[in-house]
């Protein structure tokens, strides 16, 4: 696979890791946050922590859209799904997230409601056309990567004059969340140890690198945008270490093959046309963040599920012992949660971070609980 396999090469990984070890200052610790769940996933799946020196610490950020959706919004989706006239469509990961009282969409589906998993939002339009007697609601979540396809689907619904289709919009914005992380009580009190960001890959293909420029300027935190392949991550770590060692603080772009300063103008214009900023949106772990999410513009109001079904905001009941909020703020690690591993597992997730393979708890659980009795491949083949 071109542009994939080259970025997973084991020899190159050894080389970059070697360079990191060579350049990392043993006298200090580097706290680097990968904002994106995509990075979190790659880090664990490819065993990157094992390649890093002990003083390079990765902090898992809130860049997992499943993880940051507040329970109240999920409960609203559950309410929608339970309406007999509604077919609720959403991405697979969303189905297993426990809402209030541990009711997930999957469980609601087992109750007999019509909840469908989508591979592409375009399928929601097809489902609406095939079920004229039903109201098809696309429960849309995601960062700026996922927003343009939703915008296209809304445009298409308008063109097709679909009377039985709407979107329950939960699209959120990456830079706003990064600001919020740097503005928590913990950040103010110094409890958040964060020296720099590994910046989003695919989000940045859309929004470009410019929106990250405030972070070095305003907070003194360098940002290196990185692809989701493991060599990209390693390289970005090296680049951050260099900035920190050299006292530089800027936005750098490791993912130049797909990210420009401006991003995708066409996609941005379309998003602008269909969506507008919400004055405020609640994030799990981060609380209400002003102008951190999108809502559907009045011109598309008929396709806005919140308006069509006159949804009222619900207050979700969080599992009190679940540390997702603190993990999402970067101040705790999955291991710090008493529920981690028992009883909270990917099969029985008690919090959102244990659901998606991009959630810190799930990635940690599925890939990270290693024992240390490795033997070498060479030995086996002897």
């Amino acid at each position: 696979m071109k542009y994939v396999d080259e970025f997973r090469d084991g020899d190159k990984a050894r080389a970059i890791a070697g360079q990191i070890r060579a350049e990392a200052d043993p006298a200090r610790t580097y706290h680097l946050m990968e904002f994106c769940g995509g990075h979190t996933h790659a880090i664990f799946r490819y065993g990157i922590p094992g390649l890093l020196p002990d003083n390079v610490k990765l902090i898992h950020g809130p860049g997992c859209p499943v993880c940051v959706l507040p329970i109240g919004r999920l409960d609203m989706a559950v309410e929608l799904a339970r309406r007999p006239d509604v077919i609720l469509c959403t991405y697979g990961d969303m189905l297993r997230v426990p809402g209030s009282g541990r009711v997930s969409l999957m469980k609601v589906r087992a109750e007999g409601t019509d909840v469908r998993m989508l591979y592409s939002p375009a399928d929601a339009i097809k489902i609406a056309q095939q079920n004229p007697d039903k109201q098809v609601v696309f429960f849309a979540i995601g960062f700026e990567t996922t927003t343009p396809p939703t915008a296209l689907v809304l445009e298409q619904a308008k063109k097709l004059n679909l009377s039985n289709f709407s979107v329950f919009c939960n699209h959120v914005l990456t830079p706003a969340a990064m600001h919020a992380i740097l503005n928590t009580q913990e950040a103010d009190s110094g409890a958040l140890m964060l020296d720099g960001f590994i910046g989003p890959a695919h989000v940045s293909t859309v929004i470009g690198s410019a929106p990250y420029e405030p972070f070095p300027a305003q907070y003194g935190k360098p940002v290196v945008i990185a692809g989701f392949e493991p060599l990209d991550v390693l390289q970005a770590i090296l680049m951050l270490i260099r900035q920190l060692n050299e006292g530089r603080c800027e936005v750098e772009n490791e993912f130049t093959r797909a990210v420009t300063r401006e991003g995708n103008a066409k996609a941005k214009a379309l998003v602008e046309q269909v969506f507008e900023l919400r004055p405020s949106f609640e994030w799990r772990g981060l609380g209400a963040i002003p102008e951190s999410a999108l809502q559907i513009r009045a011109e598309y109001a008929e396709f806005d599920a919140e308006k069509r079904f006159a949804l009222t905001q619900l207050e979700g009941r969080e599992n009190k012992a679940c540390e997702c909020p603190a993990i999402l703020r970067g101040v705790k690690n999955p291991r710090d949660c008493k529920l981690f591993g028992d009883p909270c597992t990917p099969d029985n997730p008690l919090g959102s971070c244990m659901v998606s393979s991009e959630g810190a708890c799930a990635a940690y659980y599925s890939y990270g609980r290693l024992s240390d009795n490795r033997i070498a491949a060479e030995e086996v083949n002897a």
């Binding site: 490819y46 065993g47 189905l95 890939y367 290693l370 490795r374 086996v380």
Partner: protein, 341 residues
Amino acid sequence: MNRLNIANGRVEMVHGSGGRAMAELIDQLFAQAFDNEWLAQGNDQAQFTLPPGRVVMATDSHVVSPLFFPGGDIGSLSVHGTINDVAMSGARPCYLSAGFILEEGFPLADLKRIVDSMASASKEAGVPIVTGDTKVVERGKGDGVFINTTGIGVVPEGLNLSGDRAQPGDAILLSGTIGDHGVTILSLRESLGFEADIQSDSQSLNRLVAAMVEVVPEIRCMRDPTRGGLANTLNELAKQSGVGMQLFEKQIPVREPVRAACEFLGLDPLYVANEGKLIAICPQEKAEQLLKAMRAQPQGREAAIIGRVVEDSHHFVQMETVFGGNRMVDWLNGEQLPRIC
């Protein structure tokens, strides 16, 4: 006896009523295709003698959707699946039963295709279908056809395979590429709709197993990595034997389109189902000999040694990635896949 209208007819409730219409369906479709002395006895049970040895019994119901796919269909799959479960004990599979749950309205032509496919899979493997059962459920209470097959076989003297016998130091062998079946089924999902030059690996492994146990009777255990894939099956064995496992990603054969499809679907080939592959664990010193025996069989041509059993009180399965890092290979975690077997 009336002739079934196989070309245009459909399954009706009456075909499951126990009356003449059912007898016609059985005679003209099942008995004709499976054609053997035991079925011909026409009793509600088959009688036969078994060679001496421990007897093995395995059962699987098959609910694959879609029913037809490149490389097979629910019929051949149902024969292969149970033959393989029997064979994984080291046994020679001897006889199969087949239980059909048909949905009202299912085209008889499709049913015939499935039954013929079962018949040739059974003949090819040398394991006859000796008794059966047919039920019909109302439209909307089934999904075309579900097939249960149950197999019995006999373990030759001197063999003792069981999932709890893996020991630290043992070698882990895999009979060929992984993920072909699951990805083939996924490619047929309307909403995914991709095309790739792959097909299900569904096949009977009894001849491969016979060749393996003849050469290396010391094999500790075998298992076919079906639902849950290689990862889940190895975790099962690790748990049963109370050991850990160390795998090496670069030694695990995966076809390029399977890898690519998994990549864009966000799946891991280690968790994707197979229907014609087996894992064998044997003493390290027998590994090369076993590998050679496997590669000599058509079903084992791409066999590989993929790892080793290690001591581990956590019973973790780990894998050195092509990238060089080490990661866990955990149990399958509630992945949302279509029905594949």
